[in-house]
């Protein structure tokens, strides 16, 4: 059953179709939500809220694009709103320079980490860095778009991203050094 049929059935409140749509996309979408948060419980909250929006606004899905991409946009927007509203994320989202200075790193390091390890490193970034890194590096948003989404100017997004990137690369390199030599390097 293709996505268009599935959407039509969902619009008729067919529960089996709703369940199938959820099963088809929930795992991947939880991966996305997970990258934006610090805990799996928060990620599931976003997933839940996101899917409620998906089902309630399904008639707005035009069918011209991919259903997965449409759901993904909803999840990312829901995650951003969640971060803005959730108390524990608000301080970090104020984009105050916390003295995390960029370190000199190789520009394009070889990433030998597996998906889960890399995701964990991204999640260790301060929330502001984490959010901008996800939006730019993974979702592909431009800094102008990120500025509009987060209510900051383009330059702030660009500088924050640069710091996040440097920090992440240094962690990746340290991780790989640890993996290769067995020597633990403090982050």
């Amino acid at each position: 059953m293709d996505d268009q049929d599935l959407v039509e059935r969902c619009l008729k409140k067919n529960r089996a179709a709703q369940s199938l749509l959820y099963e088809r996309y929930s795992s991947k979408m939880l991966g996305i939500c997970y990258r934006y948060t610090k805990s799996m419980a928060d990620a599931e909250d976003i997933l839940q809220e996101g899917f409620i929006k998906v089902f309630r606004n399904l008639e707005q899905f035009k069918g011209s694009g991919e259903l997965g991409a449409w759901i993904r946009r909803i999840m990312v927007n829901t995650a951003i709103n969640f971060l803005k509203q959730k108390e524990r994320y608000q301080v970090d989202l104020s984009f105050v320079d916390k003295g995390l200075h960029p370190v000199t790193t190789e520009e394009n390091p070889e990433i030998r980490l597996n998906t889960r390890e890399l995701a964990e490193l991204i999640r260790q970034l301060p929330v502001g860095y984490q959010t901008i890194f996800n939006l730019h590096a993974v979702e592909g948003y431009s800094h102008v778009e990120i500025g509009r989404i987060l209510g900051i100017n383009e330059g702030t997004s660009r500088s924050q991203y640069s710091r996040a990137r440097s920090l992440l690369i240094s962690w990746i390199q340290k991780n790989e050094l640890e993996n290769n030599t067995g020597i633990y390097v403090r982050k």
Partner: protein, 446 residues
């Protein structure tokens, strides 16, 4: 486009990041996108359930009450109930083949025999009809005409259970044409609870509560005025009262609940409670006698007291069983802590304190010196405080939240006044039921 290879590698890597969400997520999504229709439920069923709970509580208490003797602890264990499940090799697509049923002892079969049983019914319903009635569980599972979808050899089936288990949402998917024959017919199923978001509401809610079980009175005989005087004079009171046998209690009331947070609510109630106990006494006589009332633990020679004339009393003995009746007006204040928000059974811990006003009573008092039993309600305290602890769980239907569980309650003060020659404290063990009609104060929903 990306500035360089690093972003590209990260993006490719992150595309593979997936996790399986917990069942609770889908439960809440389903509840939000498919709001349930309102229905009215006859109150007969409410009271029937309350009765069953009371009976269960009574049975439990009857095993532990110390006054009940000659009753062996526990009862012989019955043989495990057996249930019949279908072979997993059945052709689910057509549902025509009649595979030999496998008889499996229920206790050894699965940690969740209800789930197994329901799946059997779902499987049977696929090929035959949209409705399947289970004889064993008396469940009706309705599979809507559009309630299943086939895709890549996998079938998603949505079954709706009948009203008695409407808080369970049933989701099944099963492989009907899996390439690996050993996995054909393999069921992936989830039966998940409906309850979480219904319990997450804020604001006021009005509910009815009922309860029942067994009540007991613990008594302690004190030396008092004339008894102490008799002991000083070398005449030790020879009389001890008979044990007070436990009896039933029941209660009904209204309560208003206010949610302080997602997990904590405070509840104030107003209710009526009747409590019955039994005491063994001798024959009744219309004679007149005098009872000394004085401060406890004080010899009559040094205490200020008075003799009261009693007309009509029961003599010392055990040949008659006298029913003592107490009627109370209760004002309980409870804290409801929802300990487990997810899972098949939500658990609430409900500590309470209750002020009770004694409306009337037919209780007998005992004079340890003369050994007689007599009525004098002036010796009963009108106001009593009690503390209780209940462990409750929920069953949610479409329009009512049912909360029930065992409860233990203990009297915090003496049932008798200081002039009485004994101390008595009440104990209750039983079950409590709280019913909150959902549509009341609907505007307050979270």
């Amino acid at each position: 486009m990306y500035e360089n290879e690093f972003e590209k590698k990260v993006q490719q890597n992150m595309e593979g990041l997936e996790f399986i969400p917990s069942d609770a997520v889908w439960t809440k999504v389903v509840q939000e996108i498919n709001p349930e229709k309102d229905r009215r439920r006859p109150f007969f069923w409410i009271f029937l359930l309350a009765g069953l709970i009371v009976a269960g509580g009574g049975l439990y208490y009857s095993n532990i009450v110390r006054n009940q003797q000659g009753q062996p602890e526990g009862s012989p264990k019955s043989k495990p109930e057996r249930e019949v499940i279908n072979s997993p090799d059945k052709d689910f697509k057509t549902g025509r083949s009649q595979a030999d049923p496998i008889s499996v002892p229920a206790k050894q079969n699965d940690k969740d025999p209800i789930q197994k049983h329901l799946l059997t019914q779902i499987m049977a319903a696929q090929g035959s009809s949209a409705k399947q009635v289970s004889k064993r569980k008396n469940l009706v599972i309705t599979i809507p005409e559009d309630g299943h979808i086939e895709e890549n050899g996998r079938m998603i089936v949505i079954g709706e259970l009948d009203h008695s288990l409407r808080n369970w949402h049933l989701i099944n998917s099963l492989d009907i044409n899996a390439p690996n024959s050993s996995s054909a017919g393999r069921i992936k199923s989830r039966i998940i609870p409906y309850w979480p978001s219904k319990l997450n509401r804020k604001g006021f809610q009005i509910g009815f509560n009922a309860g029942g079980g067994l009540s007991a009175i613990r008594q302690n005989i004190l030396s008092s005025g004339n008894a102490a005087a008799a002991r000083i004079n070398g005449v030790v009171p020879a009389y001890q009262p008979s044990e007070i046998d436990p009896g039933p209690y029941w209660k009904l009331g209204l309560s208003v609940q206010y949610a302080l947070s997602k997990n904590l609510s405070v509840r104030l109630g107003l209710g009526y409670r009747q409590m019955i106990n039994y005491i063994h006494v001798g024959a009744y006589t219309d004679s007149v006698t005098a009872i000394f009332y004085g401060p406890r633990n004080m010899p009559s020679s040094v205490s200020l007291g008075s003799f009261t004339s009693i007309s009509g009393f029961y003599k010392y003995g055990t040949q008659n069983r006298y029913k003592e009746n107490y009627n109370w007006l209760d004002l309980p204040l409870s804290l409801d802590w929802l300990m487990t928000r997810y899972g098949k059974l939500p658990l609430h811990l409900v500590p309470s304190i209750s002020a009770s006003y004694l409306l009337n009573s037919s209780a007998l008092q005992f004079d340890p010196n003369s050994g007689i039993y007599y009525r004098d309600n002036s010796l009963l305290e009108r106001i009593n405080l009690s503390g209780s602890l209940a462990l409750m769980t929920n069953i949610l239907s479409r329009d009512i939240i049912w909360q029930f569980g065992p409860k233990f309650e203990y009297g915090l003060n003496d049932l008798l006044s200081k002039n009485a020659m004994s101390q008595q404290r009440m104990e209750f063990i039983g079950a409590e039921l709280l019913i909150i009609p959902e549509n009341w104060l609907k505007g307050k929903r979270k």
